[in-house]
Amino acid sequence: MTEKGAAEPLIRVSALSEGTVIDHLVAGTALKVLDILGIEFEGAVTIGMNLESRKMGQKDIIKIEHREVSPNEVAKIAVVSPRASFSIIRDFKVVEKFSPTPPKLIEGLIWCKNPSCISREDRVKSKFVVVRMDPLQIRCHYCERSQRKEEIELL
């Protein structure tokens, strides 16, 4: 399915009438992103994984029909894929395009891996300070333990 003469292979997918395109996902994170969004979609979902990208080498992309993303979902996706870009489509047109602002503090999204951390007790909302964005490194606001991207477990 390569277009003749094109510089990069193109994947043909039908244009979205309404929904969200999440592009520039770190290669291999698309399924995690779908997990964040939940799987109860009514519309079509197109997933591209390990696609060639000039900017990123390889990337994943997701197109979701009839579904827009909430700020909370954007924040969670930014944790697994800090350079993701979001395009909101209405009536076949991109009405909004944005990239998540790297947060300084991530609240209520990540489970602290330290079993003895007070934030694992009931009624405490987890908080993480972003030490470094790329590759992501965070530090628990409570127990001060660092976590790397590969150790992060979303709530």
Binding site: S116, I118, S119, C140, Y142, C143
Partner: protein
């Protein structure tokens, strides 16, 4: 260039939860203030009440805070066993703190879970002092350690400091190593392989450009080391008791060890000690571990006064 010392009033109402919350000039301000409290016994904190909430036992920290409070004319209430608190009935820590805040002016907390003191500070507008949260921080110990370093060596820069023993679980060591990155020193980290300094602290040393060496052998440390800071190696960290016996003796400091690394060395230990430092070194001029305990009261007087905004 040294920044101007912060106004002591700027500490009023603040918490002392983690050394990360304080900058270099603020740490120095704590130490400078503490020098005024050597032997000071005026009723500066008359009418003030310290709530001392110990969800885990401690002798030194609890007693030295109580002593500091009483020497300055204040009083202390609290408990030293979680079984005696309402948490034994299932009350949350936040609720306990909200109730206690109406009984006191400042709260001191030790808790087995990391982050408990931070959570406590978010549950009250009163100043909160962390007296140890699990394996995380114990900032008043770090301040008294710094105070002792400066008192014995006359400076906090250009020192060769060796940490010996359990460098994996000792919060005292973690906190002091991290704080020393504010100053220009050379660090030696000597421990058995299984009790090495956690990678996140090593990364911090790298990020700050601190010169350090890691080794298993005590005698690898430089012969002109200025300070040896030892910690207790706990038997429960070793599944095999034979391994423990080997390690325990490999890191024991005695006269022979001192002579090999240099006679003019300061010996520090947060106490309690088992056999890490031979008792025949107790009269050695560089033995500073009992001074650390004594400095605990002096430094804690300064902490209480600064956070309560009491002027000398």
């Amino acid at each position: 260039m040294t920044a101007p010392a912060p106004d002591t009033d700027s500490f009023a109402g603040r918490d002392l939860i983690s050394m990360r919350d304080y900058k270099r000039d603020e740490l120095l301000a704590f130490l400078d203030e503490a020098t005024f409290y050597e032997g000071y016994q005026e009723p500066l904190l008359k009418g003030k009440v310290l709530a001392s909430l110990f969800f885990e036992p401690s002798t030194r920290t609890q007693l030295s805070f109580a002593s500091a409070m009483q020497r300055l004319g204040g009083s202390t209430l609290g408990f030293s066993d979680a079984k005696l608190s309402s948490m034994a009935k299932g009350e949350s820590l936040s609720d306990t703190i909200r109730v206690v805040e109406s009984y006191c002016d400042i709260i001191l907390i030790r808790h087995p879970r990391e982050g408990a003191a931070r959570l406590a500070s978010e549950s009250t507008s009163l100043p909160v002092i962390n007296a140890g949260d699990g394996t995380n921080q114990h900032p008043s110990q770090t301040l008294l350690d710094l105070y002792t370093v400066r008192q014995t060596r006359g400076r906090l820069d250009n020192l060769k400091i060796a940490f010996i023993g359990d460098l994996k679980y000792s919060r005292t060591v973690h906190s002091l190593i991290e704080t020393l990155t504010h100053f220009d020193n050379e660090i030696f980290l000597v421990s058995p392989q299984s009790l090495r300094t956690p990678p996140e602290f090593i990364e911090e040393l790298d990020a700050r450009g601190t010169v350090y060496t890691e080794d298993e052998d005590f005698f690898s440390i430089a012969s002109d080391v200025d300070i040896i800071y030892t910690t207790r190696i706990q038997q429960e960290r070793f599944p095999d008791p034979i391994e423990y016996e080997k390690v325990k003796n490999a890191y024991r400091i005695d006269r022979e060890a001192i002579e090999r690394v240099g006679a003019d060395v300061t010996l520090m230990h947060p106490l309690p000690r088992l056999n890490e430092i031979s008792t025949d070194l107790d009269d050695y001029p560089g033995a500073a571990y009992f001074d650390q305990a004594k400095n605990g009261v002096t430094v804690r007087k300064a902490i209480l006064s600064l956070l309560l905004g009491a002027s000398r």
